[in-house]
Symmetry: C2
Subunit: 219 residues, 2 copies
DNA sequence: TGATTTTTGTACCATACGGGATGAAAATAC
DNA sequence: GTATTTTCATCCCGTATGGTACAAAAATCA
């Protein structure tokens, strides 16, 4: 059923490991780690219990694998969206568009960010999950920051712009999208938040008046 | 053990309902809804199973009660912090300080926001919890917006300031604090984010250069 | 004092849970 | 073909889970 390489003895696997991992992730995504049973996983992957155990270890190890898989996907998506051959504003817009597409892609309705939506709950009681989540958040901060620093060095942002601060702002926007989408906010509402948010990060384009303000207050 | 009013027949309660609810909330706060067992609750409240059931209903109803309790506390805290007898910037600072104090108040380490940290996970599979979470987020948006509108009308913000947009920004800052604290970020790191964030919302004070930028970008 | 009402405390139940034991199945190696 | 290796599929186990039955306890009312 699966591609076999010559020299591999034994009965071949009936599943593709990465596909199974993706399916397991989809199950965890909806119900969270504690809310998902191994029966849910077997139903979602088509794998039976011992195969699951043999391939990924116990339930917790399997979940940690899905977290890493999600991090890889996020890393790749972020890297692509933040490519330096496009203007900063467009790059950030692509990040948020891609995020929203992911957050609203669930079969059972919007499900938000997998990491924030599921690992956040477990973070108090599980130091490893907490560390993974924290590292992932930092990695996103760093990706934003590098791109913003590049934009500033290219003159796309004013010289007094502070990339670390702006990066955390960009992350905060992503976080609020992650939360609000899973909380049932319609996609259109979140999409409407993007332009004002981009105005704050990149500066408001001169061409037209838009919502939001970014100037120094009077008082 | 508990204050008895004349005219109440039957054996008196051995617990104070609101205290028990607070204790149950603390238990859910750390492990989430699915990750908490009724045994955990009985241990945390000192109540036995039938009393718990009689007072609050089943596990899900009890959790929904704790959500409402948290909303009440948050509403009160937000209202107090956003009082209109102080400058906008100070009011917002008080909101974030109060939030951080709450988010870092757990016995088992930082636990973030109860709503975001626990209800978010359950939001995909439970429409009522999702609705509660969404309403709570909107309520916070509205509180920020009202305070910002007042500030603008008082001349504390420029006339072109857009309260709804700024309110969502203020909420996004709260959301990122809620996430990052539970993800293990040290409190000092989050505290350092506050001044730049307040610069973005309220405008940067003239007196001194600080991190961040809020001016219109060159391009 | 005795009846009534309400809550408590123990013990229990059916089920769901995570995990594993065991033998059949399906491939290669000889 | 036979042996060996690896995976699959069924069945099972001990425990944890959410929820409840039932009687004792502790108050008021008459």
């Amino acid at each position: 059923m699966v591609q076999k390489e010559p020299g591999k003895r034994g009965r071949p696997r009936a599943y593709d490991p990465d596909t199974a991992l993706a399916q397991a992730m989809a199950v965890f995504w909806d119900a969270g780690y504690s809310g998902t049973s191994l029966d849910d996983i077997t139903a979602g992957t088509g794998m039976n219990r011992p195969s699951l155990y043999g391939a990924f270890g116990d339930k917790r190890a399997l979940y940690l694998h899905t977290l890493e898989r999600y991090r890889s996907l996020a890393r790749a998506g972020l890297g692509e969206a933040l490519a330096r051959d496009r203007p900063l504003r467009e790059a950030l817009h692509r990040v948020y568009d891609a995020a929203l597409s992911l957050y609203y892609s669930g079969d059972a309705g919007a499900r938000g960010c997998f990491l924030i939506g599921t690992a956040l709950t477990e973070s108090v009681g599980d130091a490893e999950m907490r560390g993974t989540l924290r590292d992932a958040l930092h990695e996103i901060d760093a990706a934003f920051e590098a791109r913003l620093r590049f934009a500033r060095d290219q003159g796309e942002l004013p010289r007094e712009a502070d990339p670390p601060t702006l990066a955390r702002l960009a992350s905060a926007v992503l976080h609020t999208l992650a939360i609000r989408s899973r909380a049932g906010e319609p996609r259109k509402v979140l999409e409407a938040m993007l332009e004002p948010a981009l105005d704050l990060i990149c500066g408001k384009p001169k061409r037209r008046r838009q919502a939001g303000q970014s100037r120094v207050a009077a008082r």
